[in-house]
Symmetry: C2
Subunit: 195 residues, 2 copies
């Protein structure tokens, strides 16, 4: 990575943290200038508009989520161990409030009634994520860990629900049982896929 590219990624990481704090819509070049200490004109050299900045921050959040959750899951053995690794990494991402993962949850409810390229990109990112989950689940069917007629797309929706409920109970309610509940929900999904 060149020095310029590394600087840009470091700026974008701060952008992810700022967007997680103030919302993606609140992420302006002025806001990012305040967070990074870089002048507005310096930031304009990297990002020509608020929209370009928001898209770049989303791309950075996606890369961070891929590095911390998806890539380690794909490195695990195919089948149920891979599904379990996905769950563990994702849970840790929510438990530690890693901005990359959480930004997707926040931005989803923030932008769902809006129009435009940022919302469209966010929806595409989620579709990609759900296809990846279904694909990971399918390795469990191929390895005969799960029933042949188990539905990978339904599993992706159900796992999404488990994680969203976990975020809700852990972050808004500070419920000490949030993780235990999420593990039970996930265990029930696996049991249903195996039976």
């Amino acid at each position: 990575m060149t020095k310029g590219a590394a600087t840009k990624q470091a700026i974008l990481h701060q952008g992810v943290e700022a967007a997680y704090r103030v919302g993606l819509s609140g992420l302006t070049i002025g806001e990012l200038a305040g967070a990074t200490g870089i002048s507005k004109s310096g930031l304009y050299a990297h990002f020509r508009s608020k929209e370009a900045l928001q898209l770049a921050v989303l791309a950075r959040a996606r890369a961070e989520f891929t590095d911390t959750v998806i890539r380690p899951a794909l490195a695990a053995p195919r089948g149920e161990p891979r599904v379990r690794e996905l769950f563990e990494r994702w849970l840790e991402c929510g438990r530690l409030r890693l901005p990359g993962g959480c930004l997707f949850v926040k931005a989803s409810t923030e932008l769902d009634e809006q129009q435009g390229p940022v919302r469209d990109q966010l929806a595409r990112d989620h579709k990609d994520l759900y296809e990846t989950i279904a694909q990971i689940f399918r390795t469990g069917i191929a390895e005969r860990h799960f029933r042949e007629d188990a539905d990978p797309d339904q599993f992706a929706v159900d796992l999404d629900g488990v994680m969203l409920a976990f975020y809700h109970w852990h972050r808004l309610l500070n419920d000490s049982l949030a993780e235990t509940r999420a593990r039970r929900s996930f265990g029930a999904l696996l049991a249903a896929a195996r039976a």
Copy 2:
């Protein structure tokens, strides 16, 4: 209801819609003045501060959710029919994008990292909701529709996940299968409670 009280409820309903659009943090007396056509000074007579306005809007959203989801569920026969009525009403609330229900989803991710009385009230509202879900589920154990050792609190978390995933897939992804998926997830929860 006196004329003054009715006016206040009508203003607050528009406040719920505005908060659903711009976020609860974006809901200022100026924003509400723009949405209602009432002067800022007129609104100040009703709400002394931005925080008082936000708390009143949350209370109004809670009342709307109770009227459209909770009250009809409690009017259904005890046990599984009551749980099903709760699910159907809640699903409709998300499907029609009724601002009262959706505001709770939006405000949860918006405020979860903040501090203060609005966030605390939102968390209390959710705890009340989950206790109500667990209580409704318990009537199903009492009526022997569900297993004696089924866990009402776990059911509340799981149903929360089903609804959050439904909102996600219906609203962000515009997925035509969102409702079918939610019905399957809910059916699996009921089947597990009965088995």
